[in-house]
Symmetry: C2
């Protein structure tokens, strides 16, 4: 009999959802992408998603402030909407409150919610507060709107692969999160990228309103290699990326250099970057770069889509090529 | 410094939401009713809600089957949509999976989801599976549609108060849930009403498509007395109900008689009935009764709305009148 640990997160989701005998009619895109998509009014689509953060699994109350936690809980949900090219509109928040949680803690958590709602013009529409015997948890359900929806399917051989922002900051920050030693400015930046990621709502908006033919998109939550595999699997293509092209923040580079840390595992598999990973034909590149430059937003070409189905390869800085294996997802079971 | 226990559930929600500085513009009805309501296409409104069930608080894995749990988790959310006069459309389900949860358990849980989705034409649109260190939990976010929206505000003095189905079954069933003795047929019925409540989606549909002027509505989750207080508070009115009119199932009456149980606390404060409680002017009663009779659905007049703000009184079977106090909500903290 298969165990949850053996199935892994993706295997479990596949098993459970494939047994759903009843599927209503009007879904444009169901389970298996960042969001589900439904038609609403003419030309506009509803994009919806839900995400939970659980104490002891996704966060530790000794290493995050309640404000940071409130901001991150909403930001990771906003990132799911951004990954579809949507604009986030409203959220429903469930709090599972354990005994050690105080009213001032919840006040600060809500201050964090409020910051993100205000910054991205999102409404906290309602929610539920329940008691939880041991671990505090937050569930966020989010509703967004999109005119053009970008999914994981549609990448074609020859398309170029782009990523917003920089990679690896969050997972390198996690390494320094629980260290008791005094943190440098660089460490604080990296820790901040982990505890308080920026959902790429603005970048998604640039892509959505442009005429650029975005053929696939995802947000990087499981790590670049894994999420690129998701695109390749859904699009039945392969991908080749260049180590030398992977965008690094100055803080990330300096910290790796000073501490003799190999940056590659963080860049490829770190996860929780919440950057957008997307593909487009080469004739759209000029327009893309112009629009991101205008908005002072970072975007980097990191490779191209290939014919080989589901194979993701990395051209290393020394010229060697290696295949990047697919994981079963972050196995928190 | 106030503690969560002292604030109570309703006090806590009020405190947290009143601090939200940012409220986006397009909500028709925000926090404080069963659902939040948004305009979508012309004439149609989106009604949304979220609910969590936590092991050890809302259910016990030794007294419910996974199928029942799956059905109940969706049913209580469908009931929120019904309470607004809406039709449920799609749900997002988050599972917080603890170590003792097996794959066959989840298969059966999903079979329960599937039953409710099929019965009420609702789509399981997506979700999230996360690990939870100790307690299993389920969060359901639900999206429905409504043409007419029934809220808690709008009851007027002289309006008559109606309730669907029967009261007290669920809370009396809870009493027999953990008893080791062999259950009678009546006990099984009552336990079933607790573990597997029927959301009144059909009844809400009758009301919504009728021309009856429903002035307020709520679903009974906290108990008749408490939920009637919610209507009175939101509508700035009072209410008087008759003990003799409170609808009881034959199974409930027989069990109370045989076991010398006073039925009144179960009828008034039991909670988790998931029946609809609503008000209308007397000129709509004939139409209401005709429509419910046609649909073979139970509806009972239990009292009327009065002038006295926020006062709910009960006319007992012996002729005495008593005021029913308002509680602070089910205090699970």
């Amino acid at each position: 009999m298969s165990k949850i640990k053996e199935l892994g997160e993706f295997g479990l989701i596949h098993r459970l959802t494939s047994k759903l005998k009843f599927q209503a009619s009007n879904s444009i895109l169901g389970i298996g992408d960042d969001c589900a998509v439904y038609p609403v009014k003419s030309g506009s689509k509803e994009v919806i998603s839900t995400d939970a953060l659980v104490e002891g699994i996704h966060f530790n109350l000794s290493t995050t402030t309640p404000e940071e936690l409130g901001r991150k809980a909403l930001s990771v949900s906003l990132s799911d909407i951004a990954a579809m090219g949507g604009a986030p509109k409203r959220v429903l928040v469930t709090l599972g409150i354990s005994k050690k949680i105080s009213v001032p803690f919840l006040d600060k958590l809500y201050a964090g919610f409020n910051t993100i709602c205000k910054r991205f013009n999102v409404e906290l529409a309602g929610g539920d507060t329940v008691s939880s015997p041991n671990s505090f948890f937050i569930n966020v359900a989010i509703i967004g709107e999109a005119n053009r929806v970008f999914t994981r399917r549609g990448a074609k051989p020859g398309d170029l692969i782009f990523v917003t922002g920089t990679l690896g900051d969050s997972s390198l920050g996690l390494k320094f999160l629980s260290k008791k030693t005094k943190r440098s400015k660089d460490h604080n930046f990296l820790v901040g990228r982990h505890l308080d990621p920026t959902p790429r709502v603005q970048e998604a908006h640039i892509l959505a309103r442009s005429r650029i033919n975005i053929t696939s998109m995802i947000d990087i939550s499981d790590g670049l290699a894994q999420d690129l595999h998701h695109i390749c699997k859904a699009s039945s293509v392969g991908a080749r990326i260049q180590e030398s092209q992977l965008p690094q923040s100055p803080e990330f580079s300096r910290t790796c250099n000073r501490n003799k840390i190999n940056p590659l595992p963080f860049l490829l598999n770190g996860g929780e970057d919440y950057e957008l990973l997307f593909t487009l034909p080469s004739d759209g590149v000029k327009n893309l770069k112009r629009q991101f430059l205008k908005a002072k937003a970072l975007v980097t070409q990191i490779g191209e889509i290939t014919l080989k189905p589901k194979k993701v390869s990395l051209e290393k800085s020394d010229g060697r090529n290696i295949f990047l294996p697919e994981s079963e997802g972050f196995n928190h079971f």
